[in-house]
């Protein structure tokens, strides 16, 4: 349904896309994950015919952006980084206008607008100017605008950037329901949690090319195994605790100590069993534990490892400090 074949695009000497290739099957969600400036928005602009590629081709529902841009536009809905709503227009007027621009007559456009307002829980505010809406409501209205003509493909460029947690959850629900209806979605995001939650298939891009792809699970597996983290009460117990962890894990695995946070951690292939053993052993030796957890690698780990942005994210300790789930970036 979405095919991007070897697309390159330069702006002057800056290579925004460098031989990018992506595929998404019908009814799936492809997550495009990458830091700022990695080429996500350029990809979106090429897919939505706002930019033409220097090389390569992109197809939406079989139509090439190069030769049939108008057919591409007919099969595609875009919800960009900045909600594309007219603030002076009411929610209804916004959707009605988009329907008319898709070539619907007044009546059909009005009926479709009302239908969308209902399914996006905006009926109560249909007559209010969208400028008065919260970020989440505006985003919902924008998403509704993207699917006015029931496109086969919806492209969402960072749909939750700048939303509060409530708005983010709202947006996720909307995306999930789109997919349930069989729409193919391309979603760009900087948020691993979002890609993890919504995407069937994730392509990690950096410097305009794909550097890893697969399902969320596959990508996480590539980042390594589960780890056990134990936070001790006393710094003095750290070495003893490390010894306990190493003996329990066996296989010659080394525990890593983080004195600053009183934490010891170790890779744990059979984590949940090991955790029980470690805790009873520490208890038996009267080494007081503040906190113990089993941590699966997150997409953060994958992302940071692949893009080399780990240095920027955790520049301090020479130890194994990796982002914890609590520290995982959450949209503000």
């Amino acid at each position: 349904m979405i095919r991007v074949e070897n697309v390159s695009k330069s702006f002057g000497s800056f290579k925004a896309l460098d031989g990018l290739t992506l595929h998404a099957g019908e009814g799936t969600v492809l997550g495009l994950l990458g830091p700022n400036g990695s080429g996500k928005t350029t990809t979106v602009k090429i897919l939505t015919t706002l930019l033409s590629p220097d090389n390569g081709d992109a197809r939406i529902a079989g139509h090439s952006v190069l030769t049939d841009p108008d057919l591409v536009r007919r099969n595609l809905g875009l919800s960009g980084q900045y909600a594309a709503v007219d603030e002076k227009l009411t929610a209804f007027e916004n959707l009605h206008m988009v329907g008319r621009l898709y070539g619907m007559n007044r009546r059909t456009a009005a009926a479709r607008a009302n239908e969308l307002l209902a399914s996006f829980r905006l009926t109560d505010v249909a007559g209010k100017r969208s400028g008065t809406f919260s970020g989440g409501m505006r985003r919902r209205l924008d998403l509704a605008g993207a699917i006015v003509a029931r496109p086969k493909v919806v492209v969402l460029d960072e749909p939750t950037t700048g939303l509060d947690p409530r708005g983010r959850l709202d947006t996720w629900d909307v995306v999930s329901s789109l997919v349930a209806d069989g729409t193919t979605v391309l979603l760009t995001t900087q948020y691993l949690e979002e890609a993890d939650r919504l995407a069937d298939h994730i392509a990690v891009i950096n410097h305009g090319r794909v550097i890893a792809e697969g399902t969320a699970t596959e990508l996480k597996q590539s980042a390594g195994t589960e780890r056990i983290d134990v936070v001790m009460r006393d710094a003095a117990d750290l070495s003893a605790a490390a010894g306990v962890l190493e003996r329990a894990a066996g296989l010659g695995l080394r525990a890593e100590q983080d004195p600053q946070n009183l934490r010891v951690s170790i890779a744990a292939p059979e984590g949940h069993r090991l955790l029980v053993r470690v805790l009873s052993e520490l208890d038996a030796r009267a080494l007081p534990v503040d906190e113990a957890s089993l941590r699966r690698p997150t997409l953060d780990d994958v992302f940071l490892r692949l893009t080399g942005h780990a240095a920027a994210a955790a520049p301090d300790s020479g130890t194994t400090e990796v982002l914890t789930p609590e520290k995982a970036r959450v949209p503000a």
Binding site: T48, T49, L50, L51, S52, D70, R73, R74, L76, G77, L78, G80, Q81, Y82, A83, A84, V85, D86, K88, L89, E93, M97, V98, R100, L101, Y102, G103, R129, G145
Partner: protein, 266 residues
Amino acid sequence: MSAITAAFRDSSVIARRNLINVLRTPGALVTGIVQPVMFVLLLGFVFGGTLGGDQYRSYLIGGILAQTLTFNASFTAVYLAKDLQLGLIDRFRSLPMSRVAVILGRTSSDLSTSVLSVAVTLLCGVAIGWRITTGPVSALAALALLLLFAFAVSWIGAVIALTARSVEVAQSLGLVWLFPVTFVSGAFVSVSSLPGPLRVIAEWNPVTAVATAARDLFGNAAPAGFGAPGGWPAENALLYSVLCSVGIIAVFAPLAIAQYRRISKR
């Protein structure tokens, strides 16, 4: 549906959107209303005394109309530049709609500002003694000519917006050319009073032709002491101003559309 019907339909959808915006931001119209009033009063009473009194004030109205409508091109420049910066424009570009609609919708809806400016100028004129001395047909012809001219210069504003690509630049670029174009003309003074080269420019300036044609159609004579305007453009002011308007549209509309296509491919 043919491409042309689609273009008109889409443009009318956009124009409607623009008009709703105008109605809900009435403050934006203040300049369009205040400026003609200000110029009528300033020129009519500051310069009017030495230039011919009541007769000059009556004569002035045609000039103020031509000047005000030219200035309205800056509204097109600013509002189109604003539109181009909105996220909305990406939505429009990703829709299977006519590529002309965003601009044609804008230049069409900006006519509403011009209608308002004309109405305010004329009311103001009536208050200071301006009258139509011909008939209703002539007067309507004058209004039609003025709006055609306003529509034409609005395309210049569109090209400025599409070239500037930022509201600030569009705002300053949209204003600078207006002063020489409207002042080196017969809008406020007799062209024959201008020195050599300026006089030739003023004689062929479309603003002069529109002002002269409007005065002819409304029947407002020049004050005594104003040299009679000479040359072909003055003698055929109506024809020349229609030709200029059509010419401006013929040059600037394709330019604007080409520029719109180009920036959407960047």
